[in-house]
Amino acid sequence: MNAEEIRYSLSKLKWRYLSLRLFEISLLALATFLLTNALASLWVSPSVQKFLLSILSGLIVFALRFIHYRLHKLDTSFFIRYLNERYKQLKESSDLLIRDENELTTLQQLQKEKILQQFNQIYPEIKLPHHIRQSFGIFVGCSVIYFALSSFAVSTKQVFIEPVSTRKEIKPIDKDLSAPFIQSLSISITPPAYTQLKSFTAESFNLTLAEGSRVKWLAEFSGDVTDAKILFSGRDSSNLIKNNALIYSKEKVITESGFYQIQWSDKNKIHLSDYYKIEIIKDQLPKISIDNLTQFTKLGINDNLTIEVKSSLSDDYGLKDAFITATVSKGSGEGIKFREEKLRFTKPEKIIGNQVSAGVSLNLKKLGLDPGDELYFYVEAFDNKMPVANHHRTETFFIALQDTTTEITSADDGLGVDLMPEYFRSQRQIIIDTEKLLKEKKKLTKQLFNSTSNELGYDQKVLRLRYGQFMGEEAESGIAQEAIDHEEEEETDPTKQFGHQHDTENEHNLVDQKKNEAPGHDHNNESKDPDEKEDPAKAFMHNHDDTEEATFFIQSVKAKLKAALAIMWDAELYLRLYEPEKSLPFQYKALNLLKEISNDSRIYVHRTGFDPPPLKEEKRLTADLSEVKSFTNRYSNNTEESYPAIRKVLIILEKIEQENSIEISRKYQTSFAKAGQELSVLAIEQPAIYLKGLSLLKSLADQKVNPTDMQRTLLDVRKILWKAIPQVSPSPSRHAVTTNELDQLFLQSLEELKHE
């Protein structure tokens, strides 16, 4: 290495050092910037000042550190000193490296050679001094402080945006310029305490507020008025309380949507304001879900019998309480017993807040569940609504402890007809076929094996679609078609003669099926009353109106059927993937579930069994019909059309529009007023849709519409009134024809033709 190379190496060191120091100083300056900004946010609000202050402090720190490290006076001697201090092997002689050869003595030259060798060795390992780690630590610390303090910063919105003024004028709708008007109307709304919402002043006269809010109207009139009142939804009226000569006020707790209008009198003339809507935001029911369990869980005796229930609970204004209601069902048949328990969540113990994740461990053994028993439970939550809290519950979840010792297959006498099992035999057929396929796997070609597996997958799909129907699932295109296809396939099914054909086009058994039946298979023993067999699907229908069906047990059947359908999907999947051995366990699961569903039906039958009144033995079999008489019943249905005035006005509006009239005739005013009365009922329920119409109708009725706005107003009113007319189902209508001599001749000829 010659002198040039040494200088070059030292120059490189200089730049490295400079970079490190600059990075370190920059971190410190940035940290200072953030810290100053965060601290300034607490007291200073304008962001420009805050920014300038932060920049300034950052620059000061940068400059101080820059001067402190003397980076502006950095030269080679600094590195010589550093090398001499740091690296002892250079023997305090590094300065020789930069000195000219000619200036050196022989000894110095010898020393220089030695030092040069040493320098070459240590050069790659030279570590320059810096405090980057410390600076980075300070930067991170300041960043944390910055984000933490930002939360308490003075809100810029509050500082810069002027509060919206709600003090607006309200002129009477009759546009009487001489009449006193409301110079300003201020509406302050205080939501109920439990909502924890702050009081606020409404920005518009149309109010949107939480249910149960207290609303205060403060109206300042431009002149003396008498009898000032607020009309609510066209029904109730409340007098405004006179605070002083011109200011009136009224406070009211609003619990339902509707609209209001302010009325005042002046010199015996009544003035009315426009309509303004009141829209109530209802307190929502608590939302509850159970996150970690499916609706139906089946456990074996060897499974872990402690079930963790994790539930997510939320409410718009906050929850007050939640718990689990569990019912243990023990025994079977007539000996079935129920025990209900209320279980509290353990994590957290108290359910409070807007959003809570709660959990509890259910120890089935402690709850007293034995094999064959079932646990039904649901989570119920209450919110903080006052005075009556809203409450909501989840669907019922089921945990069944399997009893492997018995399998009930007998039909119950009370049922009369064993409907259920017949529907669930096809699954067994698929299992038999799958097992057969697996046995014959070695004998079959791969192609044939795959094709048979796929066909079985198809059968599984058809079966799933059938059960899907019971669940009210609309099958993919044409379940009917597929059902027919399946029927065709079954004709070649060797197991058919041993089975019992159902879900066919003749499931209602209106046609004698004797020809199709296998010998020795007697339907009469199974079905003595065809009416009872007509619609087994009824058992699975979700009929909200029928209280008898909205029971525990039907839900359990539905849940099981749902679970069975899900399992059938898996069974089909593996059959379609040509892995019938993987599909078999799912098929067995599905079959087991279907069997259980059939057993469940017994409980339902017992519960709804008909208990006839006792017979009077003395009257029995006497054939006395004296008390049985002909009976006449006469009644009239109310067939009046809904909203007759609105319907009448629609016709009138159509006529006015066709005539391009810009004035409303006096004869129509009464009709408009009546239509307004009908529309006001709707406006209370849906002010957002109908309130405008009501206002426009009133303007039309009072002939207060500007001629230039007439057409637009008529179109708007017409549109709103059309929406008010309900859609009803069609009814047959009598046609009218004109029959002349030619028609008679035609009919005669037709009759002759028919009898030829």
């Binding site: 007509e534 549109k719 069609p730 009814s731 047959p732 009598r734 046609h735 009218a736 004109t738």
Partner: protein
């Protein structure tokens, strides 16, 4: 009157003229002979002149005149220049004229008025959008060929269902000629009812469905949006009729859920109902909904006249006495509707087979998986028979080609059948529209129709414009109709060939709803007159169709010789009469 050179058009019957003038002539000749004056020959000649002049005046003589006319090409708006070039090249001697609305073509002359068509010559070719109907009537010989121009962009065909009844689903069908992606919207007074997106160019059929909620005369809008700014809105007039209530009698052997729900449905809709079923051997239950009590235990002519529709099950039908069966048959022949409810399809030889002569085939299926328009899939029991269709059976519900409900004509009445069973399940599921779909059509089409004395209709469909003639057709059940429009009696002429078929013509004076009214039974026909310029594409398409139908091209030379009848001026005869009479007056004095 004849094809000879000299023809006449007598003011009175010829025999009257001859009977009067000939004796008078002979009498006056005799008188002249008897007069002892000079110029006997000249006087007789003058008498002859007088006689012939009177004959000439009363017979209104005319003579045939030969006229050579050139053939004409008439250009109307929308003609294709290239086609005209070709036509002119082929027929260079043809004269060219163009209507006022059409662009002139080289040497074409303008047609000042459609009235000039009568005298303008022999129109051989009409090109473009053609002539309006009333102008076509001006052309005496319609031996022209019509060469249409391009169809206009817009709605070129529209079919509005008749009648439109409130609460029922109605379909408006049409064809739209588009030049690119267009969105069509049917807008009711309540807002958009239905919309169709048309992709591509050319003629595309479209269908809108809508359910009107209110009866009356309303103007919907058919808007077509070609681009964001290019929106054309046309007024679509719809007359929505209110539901007309029916009187229905239901006779059942024993009560059933099916009939109970059907009865409830009809009663809720305001129809008048009487229901009778047997509760025990001698006891019956009678129900009357929206109807005063009436004896329904025996079928009589009075009873059947009081109802429009009769539901009866086949057991009741079989148990009717012979006289009741006869009354029933006659009533149906006179217009009564009957719907038979089957429990099972009866064997041969039963009354039902006489009333409802259907050829059937037994089936092994008793279930049908059916989907009604916009409904879910229903699984319903059905009578396991297949009705073999024939020309006399009118189908109402068809499923995969299988007839599930329908009716047959029996005289003026109809007999309906419903093979679907347990339809009340649909009602129980809350699907009122689907339940109504199954029954309302069958009931409506089977029930006795209200008899009207007159039926008024317009010869052409929408659009109608002010100051354009409207051809009206009236079908009468016998009496001569007195048709009024705005309290003005419209003269009607009975068809020469068809009895009770009347024609008339009227003119609407302003745009908007208008009405024709028949005084005798208050029959009305409401129609909507569009403003000029509205429905332009539809008007042009109709006009082109009309011209196409009116054309009857014939081959011929470039010029044709026409013989026209030119009446001899009556002044000539009058002057002859005057001079002859003057001579007779002067002769004694000379």
């Amino acid at each position: 009157m004849n094809n000879s050179w000299l023809t006449f058009d007598p003011a009175f019957p010829v025999w009257v003229i001859v009977l009067i003038t000939l004796p008078v002539f002979i009498f006056f000749i005799g008188k002249e002979v008897q007069r002892t004056q000079k110029f006997l020959i000249l006087r007789i000649v003058a008498q002859v002149f007088i006689f012939f002049s009177i004959i000439g005046l009363s017979l209104r003589l005319s003579c045939l005149e030969q006229k050579v006319t050139s053939k004409i090409i008439l250009l109307t708006p929308g003609y294709d220049n290239l086609k005209v070039d070709s036509v002119v090249k082929k027929n260079p001697s043809y004269k060219m004229i163009h209507t006022r609305e059409a662009n002139p073509y080289l040497n074409s002359e303008p047609l000042i008025s459609y009235h000039n068509l009568a005298e303008s010559g022999d129109i051989k070719i009409i090109m473009g959008e053609g002539l309006p109907g009333f102008a076509l009537e001006m052309i005496k010989k319609k031996n022209f060929e019509f060469i249409p121009g391009n169809l206009p962009i817009g709605t070129i065909r529209i079919s509005i269902p008749q009648p439109i009844v409130v609460n029922k689903k109605n379909l408006i069908q049409g064809v739209f000629n588009s030049k690119g992606k267009t969105t069509l919207r049917l807008i009711s007074p309540a807002g958009v009812e239905d919309s169709v997106d048309i992709h591509g160019t050319g003629q595309t059929p479209f269908v809108f469905s809508f359910k009107p909620r209110q009866p009356g005369l309303f103007v919907y809008t058919l808007s077509s949006q070609y681009s964001s700014s290019n929106i054309l809105a046309e007024k679509l007039p719809l007359e929505i009729l209110a539901e007309q209530k029916l009187k229905i009698l239901i006779l059942q052997k024993s009560p059933s859920a099916e009939v109970r729900y059907l009865k409830n449905y009809l009663a809720e809709k305001g129809h008048s109902l009487a229901l009778c079923y047997q509760t025990s051997k001698n006891n019956f239950k009678y129900e009357y909904a929206n109807l005063n009590s009436i004896r329904v235990d025996r079928i009589t002519t009075e009873l059947t006249k009081a109802f429009d529709l009769l539901f009866l099950d086949n057991t009741v039908l079989e148990e009717l006495s012979n006289s009741e069966k006869s009354v029933l048959e006659n009533s149906i022949h006179s217009g009564l509707g009957a719907i038979i409810l089957f429990d099972d399809f009866p064997e041969k030889g039963k009354t039902i087979n006489q009333l409802l002569p259907l050829k059937t085939k037994r089936l092994t299926v008793d279930t049908v998986h059916i989907r009604f328009p916009e409904s879910k899939l229903y699984t319903l029991p059905v009578l396991p028979i297949e009705i073999i269709p024939n020309a006399f059976i009118q189908s109402i519900t068809l499923h995969k080609g299988r007839l599930l409900s329908g009716y047959v004509y029996s005289g003026a009445g109809k007999i309906g059948f419903q093979l679907l069973k347990e339809t009340y399940r649909i009602s129980l599921e809350g699907n009122a529209d689907d339940y109504a779909f199954i029954w309302s059509d069958l009931i409506e089409r089977t029930a006795r129709a209200k008899n009207k004395m007159f039926k008024v209709k317009l010869d052409k469909s929408l659009p109608y414009y002010p100051d354009e003639p409207l051809s009206i057709e009236v079908i009468s059940s016998g009496p001569q109709p007195s048709l009024y429009s705005n309290k003005i009696l419209i003269p009607l002429a009975e068809d020469v060939v068809i009895d009770d078929y009347w024609h008339g013509k009227s003119w609407a004076d302003k745009a908007g709803w208008d009405q024709f009214f028949i005084q005798q039974d208050s029959t009305e026909l409401n129609y909507f007159v569009s403003n000029k310029g509205e429905w332009e594409s539809l008007r042009i398409a109709h006009q082109m169709k009309e011209n196409e139908l009116a054309q009857s091209p014939e081959a011929g030379s470039n010029s044709s010789v026409q013989f026209i009848r030119k009446p001899i001026q009556p002044l000539i005869f009058f002057l002859i009469f005057l001079f002859a009479s003057a001579f007779l007056w002067l002769a004694p004095k000379i």
